[in-house]
């Protein structure tokens, strides 16, 4: 177990290092940061002063060491756009994305698991075929378009939900639905197929034969054994959403999370804020990955952690 934690932590560090190095290289070497960040009409003196302020006049390897040292202290510098420490902005926006992810994926789980089980009870039946087709449809609809349709329908036509922002609890309904629906579709397909496999196992027949109630056999015995792939998918969806895929939903609904901030930072060429956001996203991914490994171990004690 100790060895496992150690290895996972080392791998996590490698991932975070890799991401920061890529961001460093992309922002310093591919484009000239000063050219990107300052307006075209700035004078040479302004450019030189700006370079000095960011330490860009020093050799690249010293810049790199400095950059890494600052990351360890979680100090990325001041955001060029908002004129305050980039990490402060990230810590302010991250909870909003986490909230959106939790509500959206929570909703997907609550709906998808019963739906998948019901479909799996009679594979090939009418309910099953409708479920599969609806999930395929859900997988095929682009998320941003779904969001826009929701706005037209609920905000403009029926006027029951606010269009954008995050002022009241009602504001989260549409973004969370939009975020959750593709997840829901993937989850239904997976719950269905793993439950079909599980329900064909001998132990299910034994449990029925010895007279266990239906709900207990399907809902506890079979579902628990089908749980591992389902957990994997849910974890993966959470990772995806925190790793930047929330950008689309947040842009459509102007949800003030980390994704919208990332897009705004990219639009404003605020490389410092971008670096902070990507670093945070990488840390989130690594932390959730390690957490998921422990959850696997809890669900299935037979798993050997290597």
């Amino acid at each position: 177990m100790g060895r496992f934690i150690y290895r996972r932590l080392i791998h996590g560090l490698i991932v975070i290092m890799g991401v920061t190095i890529i961001v460093f290289v992309v922002t310093r070497m591919v484009g000239d940061p000063v050219q990107v960040m300052l307006p075209l009409e700035s004078t040479l003196e302004q450019r030189a002063a700006f370079e000095k302020k960011l330490g860009l006049d020093r050799p690249i390897h010293i810049q790199f060491v400095d950059f890494m040292a600052n990351i360890v202290r979680l100090d990325f510098g001041e955001s060029l756009w908002q004129k305050r420490p980039a990490m402060d902005i990230v810590f302010e926006k991250l909870p909003m994305t986490i909230l959106l992810t939790a509500v959206g994926i929570g909703f997907a789980c609550v709906v998808a698991i019963p739906m998948g089980i019901i479909a799996a009870l009679r594979p090939g039946g009418v309910v099953d075929r409708i479920t599969v087709f609806v999930s395929l449809l859900g997988l095929s609809v682009p998320q941003f378009w779904l969001g826009l349709l929701f706005i037209v329908l609920f905000a403009v036509q029926f006027k029951i939900l606010p269009t954008s922002g995050a002022a009241t609890p009602a504001h989260i309904i549409m973004p969370a639905l939009t975020m959750g629906l593709p997840t829901l579709a993937r989850l239904v397909m997976l719950v269905r197929s793993s439950m079909i496999d599980e329900l064909n196992q001998q132990y299910v027949k034994t449990s029925f034969a010895k007279g266990l109630p239906f709900v207990r056999v399907v809902g506890i015995h079979a579902l628990r054994n089908a749980g591992l792939p389902i957990m994997t998918l849910v974890g993966w969806e959470v990772i995806r959403s925190l790793a930047g895929y929330s950008v689309v939903v947040e842009t459509v609904f102007a949800w003030p999370g980390i994704g919208l901030t990332a897009i705004q930072a990219i639009e404003r060429d605020d490389l410092i804020l971008i670096q902070a956001i990507v670093f945070t996203a990488a840390v989130c991914v690594v932390v959730i990955n390690i957490f998921m490994d422990f959850v696997y171990k809890l669900i299935d004690p037979r798993l050997k952690l290597t």
Partner: protein
Amino acid sequence: MSQTNADSLEQALEQHRHEWVEKLFELGRELKRDKAGLVGVMLITALVLMAVFAPYIAPHDPTDQDLTARLAPPVWYEKGTLKHILGTDHLGRDVLSRTIHGARVSLWVGAAVVLLAGGFGVVMGLMAGYLGGRTDAFVMRWVDTQVAFPGLLLALIILAVIGPSLTTVVVVLALNGWMVYGRMTRSAVLSIRQSPYVEAAEVVGCRWPRVIFRHILPNLTSPLLTLGILEFARIVLAEAALSFLGLGIQPPATSWGLDVAMGKNYMFMAWWLVTIPGCAIAVTVLAINLVASWLRLISDPQEREKQFARHMAGAMRKKMHATIKKELEAP
């Protein structure tokens, strides 16, 4: 002697061709049994034809502006005209023509990314699985590390810094998506590298590139094909999302995602600007998904067996009903 040799060769070729055609027909027959798959294949064929012949089908040039007919509604509205069947956008460009031309970008990006990412991933997976040892360790570490990257964010930044264009979108999406192929190929290679035909090839003295490309790769065709098609659907959605965010295809080029983004500002006055390109994306991806799920069914022996059993049961039931009916009618 040589004459007969050539004859027999021709005969063999003929037979081979015959088998090939026969197989194609069998695939067609099987397709007829799966209605969803058939619809998917037909839709995709139509889309590909539409993309290839876009300039001949589209009634207008997709970038032609007609400022006197801005935001014209589709033809079934009172103000709609036959000139613009699906209406026009805020610059008076024909929505139908833009949608037809948009298919080009989506399918082109999808195909290019699947080929690039798939090619690289499959080669990496083959090498990792067959050579094992350090190569395997290196490739798999690389895959694990890159899978844990916040892919979309990195893609957005790289696109913003390098400058978005068709080429950069393809390259960035390919860099982001090759890992799936690598993982799957590797695990498939591990399971068949001990099989007799691989060992036979080794004993005969084939070098490893020949073993992996001539002997192992052809046997991975069907799972890789299914994965490639699923990835194609994902890439079409990803390209649309990137273009929607303004970091994908740039105007004056046309893309469905771009059109939705532009239509967003006129959403409340002109619903067709958002709805029509969005529907185009959804239909395309749905068609690809239908084909993928059909392919998965027919390439899985267990599923085929089930389907065959279901088919036979259905036929028997029909026969039984017919005999019962006959007996009832003629006592």
